[in-house]
């Protein structure tokens, strides 16, 4: 029997999302067969940034917390891998990954605890400032090479069969698997009671409190989860590049990932991934055009904010809407 409470549209759109997801994973899975080495590495980088953008989407797009310090968690996990890696052997992924995630989670917990009552524009400034504190910590102390950074000499090993992450192709598939996993994990969470509560908090926090939700605790959980997932991306980035430096957690990095979300459209998981792809490809294109690519990127961002209020995804939607409405008006014509 059809459940009248559940609008049919949502189950239908759920099926569409699943199809697109399967299609996207398939496309990325067969990509290495047709791509050169350079593009393999580029797509690996984009997939890692997609995970980073997804983690921020949970915070900004679903819980309504605009953070300008998200790179801190990305960078801390990267540094954790670099510091935990033995000098010559390959670090064991099963030991170093949990360590790196825990480091990001703890930093997220501490920062959120300090800013627990701040919201809105305050939250933006305070997250930026604390991220900068972490930046200076790695930049000024000799703990991890100061401003020069340090090397991760060997990629982590998975210790499963003949998988060798030192090979770019194997590493590519690991990152793809992690991206798919994070995407599905977030998809599940957002439909869960926890995810619904976050969306309620974003829509109207006062009402949620009046209903009985301890909203601060929900936001804390979201912040730590988002920080941990950003750490996952940071760990993969450090493993891929074999090198970490303070720029990984500089605030430009935080601004960049926010820009990805806006480009793709926040509050949809696909938006985060589309945003990461479009941003990096755009950056590649601009930097092929001119040494001063930041001028083009900056102007593009300014224009995007002025003319694309709902991101590329929003642009796609409004084009589709216009098509549909013009199509239906065509029907009326004899």
């Amino acid at each position: 029997m059809a459940d009248p409470e559940r609008p049919r549209r949502s189950t239908a759109s759920h099926r569409v999302v699943t199809w697109w997801l399967v299609l996207g994973i398939l496309a990325l899975a067969i990509f290495p067969a047709i791509a050169e080495k350079f593009y393999l590495q580029l797509i690996t980088k984009i997939m890692i940034l997609s995970i980073f953008a997804l983690s921020l989407d949970l915070l900004v797009g679903y819980a309504g917390l605009v953070s300008l310090g998200h790179a801190a968690f990305f960078g801390v996990a990267a540094y954790a891998l670099a510091l935990a890696a033995p000098a010559s052997d390959a670090p064991n992924l099963w030991l170093t990954l949990p360590l790196a995630l825990a480091a990001s989670a703890v930093i997220a917990l501490v920062i959120r605890a300090l800013v627990i009552r701040t919201a809105g524009v305050y939250f933006i400034m305070v997250t930026l400032a604390f991220a900068q504190m972490v930046y200076y910590f790695f930049h000024d102390t000799r703990l991890a090479g100061g401003s020069d950074g340090i090397y991760v000499n060997t990629r982590p090993s998975l210790e499963i069969g003949s998988i060798d992450l030192a090979q770019d192709l194997h590493f590519y598939y690991l990152v793809l698997a992690v991206l798919a996993g994070v995407f599905i994990f977030l998809g599940i969470i957002l439909r869960s009671p926890f995810g619904r509560a976050l969306q309620g908090i974003k829509a109207n926090e006062q009402r949620m409190r009046a209903l009985g939700f301890p909203t601060l605790r929900y936001k804390l959980a979201a912040f730590v989860l988002a920080g941990t997932l950003a750490g996952l991306a940071g760990y993969l980035a450090a493993a891929k590049e074999g090198y970490v430096n303070p720029e990984l957690l500089a605030w430009h990095q935080s601004g960049m990932v926010l820009m990805m979300l806006i480009l793709g459209g926040m509050g949809t998981l696909f938006g985060a991934v589309i945003g990461a792809f479009s941003y990096v490809l755009l950056q590649e294109w601009f930097s092929n055009l001119t040494k001063h690519w930041q001028l083009l990127m900056g102007s593009f961002i300014v224009l995007a904010v002025l003319v694309l209020p709902r991101g590329l995804a929003g642009l796609g939607q409004s084009i589709a809407l216009r098509r549909r409405s013009s199509a239906s008006s065509d029907d009326v014509e004899p």
Partner: protein, 285 residues
Amino acid sequence: MEWLIQILNSVQYGLLLFLVASGLTLIFGIMGVINLAHGSFYMIGAYLAFSLAELTGSLWTALPLGIVLAFALGLVLEILLISRLYRRDHLYQVLLTFGLILVFEEMRSILVGDDVHGVAIPALLDASLPLTENLSYPVYRLFISAVCLVLAALMYFTIQKTRLGMMVRAGASNAEMTQALGINIRWIHALVFAAGVALAVFAGMIAAPVSSVFPGMGNQVLIICFVIVVIGGIGSLKGALIASLLIGFVDTFGKVLLPELAGVAVYLLMAIVLLFRPAGLYGRP
């Protein structure tokens, strides 16, 4: 006596920061806009001082020229871009002004290059005040402190005592009412923004002779100014002044006492203030 020098340096640095932070906090308090590009104006000021001083031969002619240019830049930016952000989410304000930073930095790179420069102290003030037999203090730093104090007093007077200041304060508390009284809020916003830009540019110009002129200087100042606004309380000039001086002391003495952790010290101060006063020293909770 060395302490006296550090104290004078702290005050001078704090007052300089106040010039930048006051614009940031006013723009937020009155228009509700978070402006990441505010630090870029400080950078632009320093590079203007360098270029104009070379062009005209003296910082004294460069200063008024720079202020006029800054005010014009502020008006143009407000009218073309910033005014479109007033009713929009903070997220978009962050992004647009983030884009502006990239534009300003790259323009600077194209026009002046990426080198570090120095600006000569004007001959008139290029002297030292002897404190003891072998310690002395540069007159130019005292000049910076004095100018900043005069500007702070002027700002206070303008906002508290003049008709313009009254309109600004009314605009901050109730934009619609001000509009109904026949005050053109559009012009007040443009004026406040341009004044904020001019202050930051001016700060960058007079700071240029004591701190070298380098590419990343804008962002460094921006983030410190955010810390100041957070500590002082958003929209509060008084809070910004006190927080600026606090930061001046913590940063200067941090570098002397704990050089390894100097970069972190100001953020620790912010963390401590937030623990006890989540809305800052003079913020409305």
